[in-house]
Homo-oligomer: 255 residues x 2
């Protein structure tokens, strides 16, 4: 099943139409009879999370790449330790990524698979962690590297408005660890990697995180990227994860 | 005006009663006629923020204290750069702070004043920043220092369940920069400081943050602490900010 969100509410995608739901699919929403053509709909981030979890370095070659770029903190993680992003930065499929006026140099996409939590969980076993995931979507962890290096936190380097495209929808019937992630800029493949080649997988993170933290329905867990791709204003960046879909966003300069 | 939140919804505190509102005070909620005795009410965190902003080092003596403790990153900030906490950790007035089984050594309260944003703002002037704050509450940025030192992020050191008491209510008619913050453990004063002796004040943070980030109604901005206070299971920790109130929480060991 594919669930999306539009201005009118949550929806179930059925071929070329969206069947609107009476409430969130995370609360058991059912079609209420209203139908909207998919092609005419503006897709919003499929969920606004209570907590927006994000994994940093989680693919071996990303760690090596970061070390080679001179980030001394970029050692391979020994444990699944999660970080955070902020909801203000979320934007939907086809909405612009706006590069702030003060950003120069490396301004990069990070293509990520995203777990959407469907249950309230604490002290989850691996089986409970697997059962707790409602579905999967795609995230682009857009990053302004000069700010990432100069600032004490990731506040503007990773959380400026529009820096977190997420979508286009939540796919419930896919094994994310058996997929391929492809990142294209203006139609040209710039990166391709095995989505599942993670150091720690989503269930490792959920097991470890819930030793201390209750996760809730709607929480999202962005799983990190195995590649970064430079973006320039005027580009269109597509992230495809097989079995889920394509998240596409134009890049604009701040006006 | 003092606004709170209880299981039944948002409320306006009027002497010893809570007048329930028809919706959030941030959405212009009005009393709906229902009244609950304040003494009988379990106060919840007065708001669940879309984004939970938190300032790190923001008082000179906290910076000096952290440097003396051997945190090399604890240099005085040159710019107002905000960080984040997570909603799972929020808990209300009189609810327990639970020290996880694995926590030893320094387990500390950080008494903080909290700005509650009332408007959607971007590129705020200082005057707009001042006008954007709906009111003020109290936060306790409970921190497990061994984890803060050992981990890559603040995920469990500052965001374990119950580590972020907030309340007891939102006070709209107070100048937070003219107040005194007092932290008591079992009734004994352990720290007292001028709430307004900040390196950067809340409006500095809102002006700087909104250059890149849209802040929304209900967002909270925790302003940092000028002192840390050791907590042990069995303690009751009170944080009083004059003109706002007292946030009180018992400390328990994880069972």
């Amino acid at each position: 099943m594919r669930y999306c969100r539009i201005a009118e509410g949550f929806g179930l995608i059925d071929d070329d139409v969206i069947r609107l739901l009476d409430r969130s699919p995370l609360e058991g929403g059912r079609p209420d009879g209203l139908v909207v053509p998919l092609a005419a709909a503006k897709l919003l981030p499929p969920v606004i999370p209570p907590v927006f979890y994000a994994v940093g370095l989680n693919y071996r070659s990303h760690v090596e790449h970061a070390l080679a770029r001179g980030y001394p903190a970029a050692t391979s993680p020994e444990r699944p330790e999660v970080g955070y992003r902020a909801n203000n930065a979320l934007t939907g499929h086809l909405s612009p990524i706006v590069r702030p006026a003060g950003v120069h140099g490396r301004f990069e996409a990070e293509p990520e698979v995203v777990a959407v939590i469907g249950r309230t969980i604490r002290n989850a076993s691996r089986g409970e962690a697997q059962a707790s995931v409602f579905g999967w979507t795609i995230g682009n962890d857009v990053s302004a590297r000069e700010w990432q290096n100069s600032d004490r936190t990731f506040w503007r380097s990773k959380n400026s408005d529009t820096f977190k495209p997420m979508g286009p929808w939540i796919e419930t019937d896919v094994d994310p660890l058996a997929q391929t992630t492809t990142c294209r800029v203006d139609g040209e493949v710039r990166a391709e990697f095995a989505t599942g080649a993670m150091i720690f997988d989503p269930f490792d993170f959920i097991v470890e995180t819930t030793k201390y933290i209750t996760m809730h329905p709607g929480d999202v867990l962005w799983m990190g990227a195995d590649a970064t791709v430079q973006l320039e204003p005027g580009n269109v960046v597509d992230i495809e994860i097989s079995g889920i879909g394509v998240l596409s966003n134009p890049v604009q300069e701040e006006s």
